[in-house]
């Protein structure tokens, strides 16, 4: 069955694309996985059919506009939060483009994600509300749930620019079984020189692995795994194992390294070059997209969806949560 392997191969080794490539299928898959801009940069400069080159040039222009908008949104948050004097760390896409990393090249960037010290959370929230951000979900149960159990504030959206901000105080929900060291993330963060900071390279990798394998159902997972490939390309993985262990995320980091090596031939430590039992299921899920952009493998998808809830909270709490959600 056709799956997203064609996309993974094209990203990993653009030169390997044959002239008779199913370009329509490749482009559709890339769009569905939010990797078209990334693919467009990877194939830039290669001899391509004229129509493909034109379409990818559009995708690069769109990604460049997206990059500019993401940096502007980060600057808006910086201006709103500057008077507080607290550390503001950019996460994910905005961090990659602000730091000029490979992972930012062509990346689609949606919400602005920032990390602030938990002690400053109330002040940050007040400052953002004063600067024009508003609640997206005024539902009392959701609001209370976020505040008590999540690693971030309920999402805020800016009333003029229509852009969302996720304010994190750590990188995994408080209900998860793993508790990363949020203080260490902030302490090791690297200032960008403009009042904002990004995580240290190792912490970026640990965060990406946590996001991919310890939280959520792997939706958009291929893009997240590509981030990991690029981060390793930029910084290597020398001190990574120790840092992952410090955050309690060794298993997730190891799986990320094995899978990125397997899919993208990322140069990782020899210890991570053999796939383990269980990895195959993750690969099945990561590549579950066909050449029409349709999600495929519903059973695998469902299994990972169930798993995401299992990871997120203990069974009794999950039951209470589902009950509360179902009653409304």
């Amino acid at each position: 069955m056709a799956d997203a392997l064609i996309l993974a191969r094209a990203l990993a080794d653009p030169q390997s694309l044959a002239l008779d490539t199913d370009w329509t299928g490749l482009i559709t898959t890339a769009r569905a996985e939010q990797l078209l801009g990334t693919l467009a940069y990877r194939l830039d400069g290669l001899p391509l059919p004229e129509d493909v080159a034109l379409l990818l040039a559009d995708a690069r222009a769109a990604a460049e506009n997206g990059r500019r908008a993401a940096l502007w949104e980060a600057e808006m948050a910086r201006r709103a939060l500057a008077p507080l004097g607290c550390t503001v760390v950019l996460l994910k896409g905005a961090a990659f483009v602000a730091a000029g990393l490979l992972a930012g090249r062509g990346r689609s960037i949606g919400d602005l994600d920032i990390l602030v010290p938990r002690a400053d959370l109330d002040r940050v929230e007040a400052a953002l509300l004063a600067a024009g951000w508003e609640w997206v979900k005024p539902d009392p149960y959701d609001d209370a749930y976020y505040r008590r159990w999540m690693h971030e504030l309920p999402p805020l959206i800016h009333r003029d620019r229509d852009r969302m901000i996720d304010v994190h105080h750590t990188i995994l929900p408080l209900t998860a079984r793993i508790t990363p060291d949020a203080g260490a993330l902030l302490a090791a963060a690297e200032p960008l020189g403009n009042g904002l900071a990004v995580l240290s390279p190792d912490d970026m990798l640990v965060h990406a692995a946590a996001h991919l394998f310890a939280d959520g159902d792997l939706a958009g997972g291929l893009r997240n795994l590509w981030d990991i490939h690029c981060l390793i390309d930029d910084h290597g993985s020398a001190g990574l194992a120790a840092r992952a262990a410090h955050h309690g995320l060794s298993k997730e980091m190891a799986r990320a390294l094995r899978l990125t090596h397997r899919l993208f031939a990322t140069p990782v430590d020899p210890a991570y070059r053999e796939v383990r039992p269980g990895d195959a299921l993750y690969l099945r899920r990561l590549l579950a997209r066909d050449d029409w952009g349709r999600p495929i493998r519903p059973a695998t998808r469902l299994a990972f969806y169930v798993r995401s809830h299992w990871l997120r909270m203990p069974p009794a709490m999950l039951a209470r949560h589902l009950w509360a959600k179902w009653r409304r």
Binding site: P49, E50, N65
Partner: protein
Amino acid sequence: MRHVFSVRIGPIGFRVGSDWRAPIDALGELYRYYPSPNLPDFTVRLEATHWWRRWLRPSIRIAGDYTLPEAAPLPLAQGLLAAEMAMNLQLALGGRRFLLLHASCVERDGRALLMTGESGAGKSTLATMLAARGWRFMSDEFALIEPETGLVHPFPRLISLKNAAIAAAIAARPDAKLGPLLAGTPKGDIRHMVPDALAVGAMDEPALPALLLYPRYGFATEVRGVLPSESFVRLTQASTNYVALGETGFGALTRLVRETPAHAVDYPDGAAAIEQVEALWRTL
């Protein structure tokens, strides 16, 4: 997917996949004289909302590269409408090569007339009536403005006629090829009209915008000049990708409103509108 149709409409190529044969057959029939794209820009999927809804009370979910989460499913009898809506949606949300204005467009002597307004203002009907009088039909839905040149590119998809406009357009072009009457759609009665041979044959020929009109149907005849500043504001709202294009969109739009005279035109009926449009055209 099981049934597939590809078409190029002006500079934009589409690939439409469907769980059913009927919508694909309808598209094939109405787009018979259109070319196929080398590479589709967008993919559209007409999918059963649940697997059993392929056979049992068939229900179409509009999907593709870009989707709106709140889009309501349509019955199979309205498959053609679903396909047309889906194709429009892809361009509206995903188009980045052109500044997209929600406008109809006709051409004469290499110069283009753009008409924009709310749904029901008469964009499609006026474009069809003008085409019947010798203008070249370019589009009834989107004007595609090329940022580098300022040229407007044709997008002569099927003309989507709604309610009273159906009879008016058929009166103007009695020999036109028509799709089936789709009664009781979310937008009322809809019927698709195939653009004439000139429109299809010249779909690769852009034109320079020469006149911008804001028609309003159902009012006493009145023509009022519109300043570039007002045009700018109106057209930012009539554009589906102005914000996404960033500086490029701003450049294209400011150039358009500076270089193109604009008028708001109120009209009580089609004949009056044609007279006003042709009178304004003569002043250029």
